[in-house]
Symmetry: C2
Subunit: 323 residues, 2 copies
């Protein structure tokens, strides 16, 4: 039974892989997604709650390209700031689309967007040395990459494709989320009956210095791990992760590939150890689900957006539940 649900939307909820990301395309996708979210709201009781988080990969990628292309004319902003921009952008589009879909259903629930920082450990291994594992922005030739690096010696570039000329990309750290900085405000709004969109793109990563002052970091926190932190703060009982697969798969991409209908957190941990899941893709989703259940959550569900309603009814998707 859904009492309070956190929905984590994947990139395809806002921009399909084969699209460039025009305003029309993005608003159209948001409407498709928000129709489904409105269906969930419709099925809930008045005092239940919904919190929404979302990825920002394509949008931050496009903004990073724009920062770079116009560099000679206007100053490029750092990734924490660009991440904040995507929270405004995507938050606005989702908020408006959801308000409109709810209105179509005759539902008056208000929606709002919180610009949201996520605290990371300043000693997180991802921040040290060359560990940065998350590729962002343009593909470059080695020559181009080195030219940008000359201007920004702090950037890390890695060869991310084995072949092809434009095989280099900037990579940034992907540290672990410790706490949602604006958690109290979000909780207050959810308790008061607002649908809240927050922690977009995994939140804006910030560290605290020795005086307790926050400072932005050029990094990307995994949006499902950060969403799980938000689910905890809001005391959600259901954590729904929407991605591009109807069900989680074991032996992914192998001849003995196999759907998972349901599994316990203990089984999920075993599968993680056996490396069934792609790093940086399904793996953090499974980790987030386990963390959610261990912190008191009831049900974690992973499915594709078009199967949302059926998955909540237990008819499809992958259910992860406590032992």
């Amino acid at each position: 039974m859904v009492k309070r649900i956190l929905v984590a939307l994947g990139g395809n909820a806002i921009k399909q892989a084969d699209e460039k990301g025009s305003p029309e395309e993005q608003f159209r996708n948001c409407m498709i997604t928000c129709k489904l979210l409105a269906e969930i709201v419709k099925s809930m009781e008045k005092n239940d709650g919904m919190i929404i988080t979302h990825g920002n990969g394509p949008q931050i990628g496009n903004l990073m390209v724009q920062q770079e292309e116009a560099r000679q004319i206007v100053p490029a902003q750092t990734m924490d700031i660009v991440g904040a921009m995507t929270q405004g952008q995507i938050g606005y589009m989702l908020q408006q689309a959801l308000l409109n879909c709810l209105k179509d259903e005759g539902i008056e629930t208000p929606v709002c967007v919180i610009v949201n920082q996520v605290q990371i450990d300043k000693n997180d291994p991802e921040l040290l040395g060359k560990a940065a594992s998350k590729p962002v922005g343009n593909f470059f030739t080695e020559e181009e990459a080195m030219a940008v690096k000359k201007e920004h010696p702090e950037y890390i570039f890695k060869k991310v494709k084995p072949v092809g000329e434009k095989a280099w990309r900037r990579t940034v750290p992907s540290p672990y989320p410790m706490a949602n900085v604006e958690g109290a405000a979000i909780r207050k709004l959810v308790d008061a009956g607002f649908i809240v969109i927050a922690s977009g793109g995994g939140g804006i990563p910030v560290i605290q210095d020795e005086h307790g002052r926050y400072k932005g970091v050029e990094a990307v926190v995994d949006k499902d791990l950060a969403g799980e932190r938000l689910a905890e703060v809001c005391n959600a009982n259901v954590f729904l992760i929407l991605t591009d697969m109807e069900k989680v798969k074991l032996n992914f991409g192998k001849p003995n590939e196999q759907d998972v209908d349901k599994m316990t957190d203990t089984e999920a941990k075993k599968y993680l150890e056996e490396e069934h899941f792609i790093l940086g893709s399904m793996e953090p989703k499974i980790k987030a689900c386990i963390q959610f259940l261990e912190s008191g959550g009831e049900k974690a569900i992973i499915t594709s957006p078009d199967k949302t309603v059926e998955a909540l009814e237990g008819k499809t998707g992958t259910l992860i539940y406590r032992n």
Copy 2:
């Protein structure tokens, strides 16, 4: 006596006119501004409230340039979306700076940012024909302007400088704000003790269609007029507008120019009619103050950021009060 204050920050609170707007410059300016805001918070009682709004001219200008420069690679976003980006960007920077300044003062008041739509009338005269009065983005030569217009026939370009080659700019409508769409969420947070940053850049302008659905518009709402709407929703008793002048001036720029220490709303209206104030600059600020007082506000104050504390003590700035 300040019980609940709405502070409207001008563009110079985030980017000085002689700066390009690098992340370092903008965070430095935010810290200077937020030290002053922390001073105000310090002087207030625990149950008082503060709401902050801000301009976004330089930031939306830079983002519009970036949209244009990278147009061949990634799709340019519409102005409503770009406005939402600036709310994320500036909201994040101000929020972080204010949290840090409050922490330095030992104050635990939480701060949050709401991505905020402002409703405008779909029949606003500024939206009709070629009325669009607000210049945005790059300066172009006539030839360049016409080239962009070929791609975007809906754009309006006007010659905004009497001389010089690059004298053309895109202009967009500057409609009147009717209502703050997320007002209820903001009010809830302010009542619960949060400092809320909202209505950035005058809010994201939206109209409602015949079915009540919201839709973004490429326009710029004046940030002080929109801020006044927010002050009403939050039941603020003081409206503080920070700009680049310590006091409002009569006969501005003329030999008989004269500071105003205080005036009633009736006097302010008379001066408006006598055209003492520059259109689109001091004029909407005075209008916003009159509207604030007429809707039940106690005091409107216009001054420069460095005079904030003295102005609140009645020692400088221009005070506008009810008859």
